[in-house]
Structures are given as structure tokens and as C-alpha cells.
């Protein structure tokens, strides 16, 4: 089996695991872990596409750096919200955050 296809299959399973985590967990930090896994799967796809389809074009690596930025921003914003929530309610359980619903 091709290395590119193997990478894509790993990324697909990793994305599924991350989606399961993001949907099933009630704790904000655990939800963020699910999102991290999904972003990791996206990064894996980007790197493998760059490597096995167009290694001469560096915009693929650039896209990977943008994804890393998204990951860092997601973590920062998530922990900011978690800290504010913990200060206000003493917990980061999203089951108890019904008032955040729009």
C-alpha cells in the first residue's frame, strides 16, 4: 500500500477519534483535546500531500504552519474561557453551562 494512502487513512481515523472526543466529553479541557486531535489529523494530511504530491512547492509547509497557529490560538482561547468560567462558577463542566447557549 502507498505511503500517502497510509497517511491519509491514519489521519481519517485520528479525525474520527477526535470528533468522538469533542462530541462526547463534558469537560471543556477534554473537548479541547478532541479538537486538537482533529487539527492534528488535518496537519498530517497537509504534510503528506506536500511530501508525496508537490514537494517542490513550499506553500504546503506554510499551510501546516498556519494550522499550528490555529492550534495555539484554540488552546489560548479555550484556556482563557476555562479560567473565566472556573472563576465564575468553580467548574469547567459544560453540562452546567446551559446559559452559554445562544
Amino acid at each position: 500500500m502507498s505511503v500517502l494512502l497510509t497517511g491519509q487513512l491514519v489521519a481519517a481515523v485520528l479525525f474520527g477519534v477526535g470528533l468522538y472526543g469533542a462530541l462526547s466529553q463534558t469537560n471543556l479541557v477534554m473537548i479541547m483535546m478532541g479538537v486538537e486531535l482533529m487539527l492534528g489529523a488535518a496537519m498530517l494530511n497537509v504534510v503528506f500531500f506536500w511530501r508525496y504530491l508537490h514537494p517542490e512547492m513550499y506553500s504546503g509547509q506554510m499551510f501546516m504552519l498556519v494550522l499550528m497557529t490555529v492550534m495555539a490560538v484554540e488552546m489560548a482561547v479555550g484556556f482563557g474561557v476555562a479560567t473565566a468560567r472556573f472563576r465564575a462558577k468553580g467548574s469547567v463542566e459544560m453540562e452546567e453551562a446551559g446559559e452559554l447557549r445562544g
Partner: protein
Amino acid sequence: MIQFLFVLLFGVAAIWFGVKVFTTASMMRSALALLFSMAALGALFMAAEAEFLGVLQLMMMATEMSIMALFMIMYMMSPGGLTPMEMTHQKRFSLVAGVVTALLIVSVAVSQFREPSAVAVAPAPDAQLRGLGGELLERSMLVFQAAGVTILVAMIATTAVAMRRHE
């Protein structure tokens, strides 16, 4: 062939630790499992001859997951999992959504896959660094700058949100 074996090995490791994140009772173990999963991704990048991105991934994730573990300890009643707590909901729906999505992506990847006509040769590590540096400072400079400003804005906004309010 060796490259394929390494990609398979680290791929299975990334998935295994990814599953462990949501199947262990201890929050600390979850954070560590995520760290190992991300480290396996970094190793996968290196196996695919993207050395700089692999090392970057390892360094960034080591820091990020250490911070995550710290927050775990701060916000959890029982970060070590000594008093088991139910922290899941809609498990069946989530499981179906995760499996269906993964199967959809797999079916698209397999059905649309065409073996590349020519074998793509990765540039040497130093050529990759030079190429990426050129890309960052020439064609993609605006994107690079926008990413930097976005991180700065996120840092300021996050600090503002998390600060104690004085009534």
C-alpha cells in the same frame, strides 16, 4: 519499504494514544496520551522526510501538553482519577458520528486515490529550510504576518477574558 513501516508504526501509535485520551479515567493520563499521540505525529512527519516540521511539532506539542497538564491539575477535582467521575454525554451519538465521519473520509481517500505518476523526491533538509524561509519571507509573507498578529490578538483577548473582575 522502511519508510512505509515507520509510517505504519507511528500511525498506529498516534491512533492508539488518541483513543487512550478518551478511555482513561485519569486526566493526567489523558494529557500524557495526547502528548504521545502528537509526538507520534511529529515522528510521522520525520518519517515522511519533513524534518523541520517534525521537530517543530515535537517541540511545540511538548510545551503545549505540559501547559495542558498544568491546567488539568488546576481545574480538576481529581486529576489523577482517584475518584472516578462521569464526564461524558451522548456517547452513542458521538461514537456513530466519529465512526461514520472516519469511514466517509476513508472511502473518499480510497476511491479517489491515484498513484502519483512520478516518484516525488523530498528536498534535502537544508534545502527545505531555505525553501520554507523563502516562502515565509516572499510569497506567503502576508499570511505569516497575519498568523503572528492573530496570535498576539488571541493572547491579549485571552488575558483580558481571564483576568479577575473588580466590581
